[in-house]
């Protein structure tokens, strides 16, 4: 059984789609040498016309991709730093996302925005460590946050084939995970995955936090039976799948590596309590409100949602509901 890393799964997905469809091409900064280690070897294999380095002109190349999509291509843009999405939020949200409706259905904008290394890479400080997936979910752009190598492959392939803009956040905390993989297949949007079944509480974990949630569930196994639910796409969100899980367990804890106010954790909780009567108040573990990640490693870690916080939240939820 071949062992595949998350990072290599992304490369495989890009290579397979470039090979499968002439319309696919990659655009980004330093992608020909593969500075992110995700596009390694692709320029040599597919040529620099289809694996194109751009100048540092994020706004222009993001809208360039919109134009290319309007003319029938399927661009994949790589952003090495998640904060660059703030710079091109206008181009993605106000143009790529809005064109189909504003033109009365005359066009599609099938662009994929890939952000390998999203969230904290320790020591990258304030402007390189954000994880802004909630912003895209809020405006209704398809937003994908895979946790495992197989899902990274399957969701990136689906994103590239999808006819609307899709942002794929590949969390830094997941990039080096590996797993044994037999089959690499497309993964549908809007369908969550239960990584571990349990009876007492459903923990929703996004991206790399799935691995933390699984570790905590294992640690607490003799005290609490924890179900770990990974939405895989935060927009569209698999509310049916989650509702089914919470209806069984009756308790909900969400762990989300983003700021607290208006984060996806709040949306998940609201959506569940609209449908299910819980046994205890739901809880969320997130970064603090308005957080900016400090540089020093101990401070960086202090701001990110941690395993201890998650374990505490699970215990409190159990106590509240007992």
């Amino acid at each position: 059984m071949p062992r595949l890393s998350y990072r290599r799964a992304l490369t495989r997905a890009l290579a397979d789609e470039l090979a499968r469809d002439e319309a696919v091409f990659l655009l980004g900064e330093d992608i020909q040498v593969g500075a992110s280690l995700v596009t390694t070897g692709l320029a040599k294999r597919f040529g620099t016309e289809r694996v194109r380095d751009t100048p540092l002109s994020e706004q222009a190349f993001t809208s360039f991709a919109t134009g290319a999509a309007l003319a029938g291509l399927r661009p994949v843009l790589e952003f090495q730093i998640p904060s660059l999405l703030y710079l091109v939020f206008e181009q993605i949200v106000n143009h790529a996302h809005k064109f189909p409706l504003m033109t009365g259905g005359q066009c599609a904008v099938p662009v994929t925005y890939l952000v390998p290394g999203s969230g904290s890479r320790t020591g990258w400080a304030g402007q390189h460590s954000d994880h802004p997936y909630s912003l895209f979910a809020h405006v209704g752009v398809v937003t994908v946050v895979p946790a495992t190598p197989a899902d990274a492959y399957g969701l990136l392939v689906t994103a590239i084939r999808h006819d609307d803009p899709v942002v794929v956040f590949a969390p830094a905390g997941a990039m080096d995970t590996r797993e044994d993989v037999d089959d690499l297949v497309p993964v549908p949007l809007g369908r969550g995955r239960i990584h571990r079944f349990g009876d007492d509480v459903t923990v929703v974990a996004v991206g790399h936090l799935v691995h933390d949630a699984l570790a905590v569930a294992e640690e607490l196994a003799d005290q609490v039976s924890v179900e770990v639910f990974d939405p895989r796409t935060v927009y569209p969100f698999d509310i049916d799948g989650l509702t089914e899980s919470v209806a069984r367990t009756g308790r909900l804890v969400v762990v989300d590596d983003a700021n607290r106010s208006c984060g996806i954790a709040a949306e998940i909780i609201a959506s569940v309590v609209e449908r299910v009567r819980l046994l205890a108040p739901p809880r969320r573990v997130t970064r603090p409100d308005g957080a900016v990640l400090p540089f020093a490693p101990a401070l960086d870690r202090a701001v990110q949602p941690g395993r201890d916080q998650l374990a505490t939240a699970i215990h409190l939820t159990m106590k509240d509901g007992s």
Partner: protein
């Protein structure tokens, strides 16, 4: 320029002029909600540039975009229906004045974000070329846009990758109420020169002059040249937006407006025609627009149940907001 070319150019400027005048009437009559940015006075630019293009070329315009769409050959009746928010509109009533698009004619949409068309059209033309087509593109924008970073980044990309895009700056002297002299350091041509993009300044009030300059640029671009820029000097005869008819903004001296209106592209082009030809075009345009107004006002309004139709090209649907 043949007589037929001259008549065609006149027909276009006259059509845009009367379309805009009829649209302003419909704004005041309450049939166009939200108002429009009239293109009155600037018709020669859209007419001249689009006359130099082929059927497979692509354009993208601005919030003041009716002229570009009409000059490309869009149906005035469907365009007017769009402004009135009807299902028969070019965009099925979803785009309105600032987003009118007709992809069947290579009109990739008017864009309400200043300077946005430059990079979009560069990407579109680059893609068409990759498919082996001979496409060139036009990005229309105003003098205000030359201070937008996104547009200058697009200049760089187009020049660097030799994408045949004609950047057409419609310099009407004002970005809303901000005079160009108070907004643009250096010059508009100088912006292009900095990227190695050939630039010319032309009289935007003379449709033939614009057409000749655009045709020369398009010919060079098709022969393998990279992008070019035309700065067309023009004057906006009316308001920035029709809301100004209700609120009085004091920013253009009355004598400047009077002087500006003297060089009228419709009159200038009309004088090149015989009286008979001109009268025939005028009558034809009037009949076209009478029919367009009737069509627009008789067209059904969209069904509110379909308010978010076309949100996702993939067919995905969104959760509703209520309940």
């Amino acid at each position: 320029m043949t007589d037929a070319d001259q008549v065609r150019l006149y027909r276009t400027v006259r059509l845009i002029r009367r379309f805009e005048e009829r649209a302003v009437e419909l704004v005041h009559g309450g049939q166009i909600v939200g108002g429009i940015h009239p293109y009155l006075g600037q018709e020669g630019i859209a007419a001249g540039v689009c006359a130099a293009l082929g059927v497979d070329d692509v354009i993208a315009g601005t919030h003041r975009g009716h002229g570009h769409v009409l000059a490309r050959g869009a149906d005035p009746a469907r365009m007017l229906a769009e402004l009135c928010g009807r299902v028969t509109g070019l965009n099925a009533g979803r785009g309105g004045s600032m987003h009118a698009a007709d992809f069947s004619l290579g009109v990739l949409g008017a864009n309400a974000i200043v300077g946005a068309s430059g990079a979009i059209i560069t990407g579109a033309v680059w893609a068409h070329r990759r498919w082996g087509r001979d496409t060139v593109g036009v990005s229309f924008f105003g003098d205000g846009a030359v201070n937008e970073g996104m547009l200058l980044e697009a200049f760089n990309l187009a020049a660097l990758w030799r994408v045949p895009v004609l950047f057409v700056c419609e310099n009407n002297g004002y970005a809303t109420t901000m005079p160009v002299t108070g907004a643009v350091a250096g010059s508009i041509e100088g912006r292009a020169a900095a990227f190695g993009i050939p630039a010319v300044q032309v009289d935007g009030q003379d449709p033939e002059t614009v057409r000749i300059a655009a045709a020369a640029a398009v010919e060079r671009m098709r022969a393998g040249g990279g992008p070019e820029l035309i700065e067309a000097r023009t004057y906006r005869f009316d308001v920035h937006h029709t809301f100004e008819h209700a609120v009085r903004l004091d920013y253009r001296p009355p004598d400047e407006v009077t002087r500006g209106r003297v060089r009228d592209p419709v009159r200038i082009q009309g004088e090149r025609l015989t009286d008979t030809d001109r009268a025939a075009v005028d009558a034809e345009v009037e009949a076209t627009l009478d029919a367009a107004v009737r069509f627009a006002l008789a067209s059904p309004e969209p069904d509110p149940a379909d308010a978010l139709a076309h949100l996702y090209a993939s067919g995905m649907t969104a959760r509703t907001g209520g309940g």
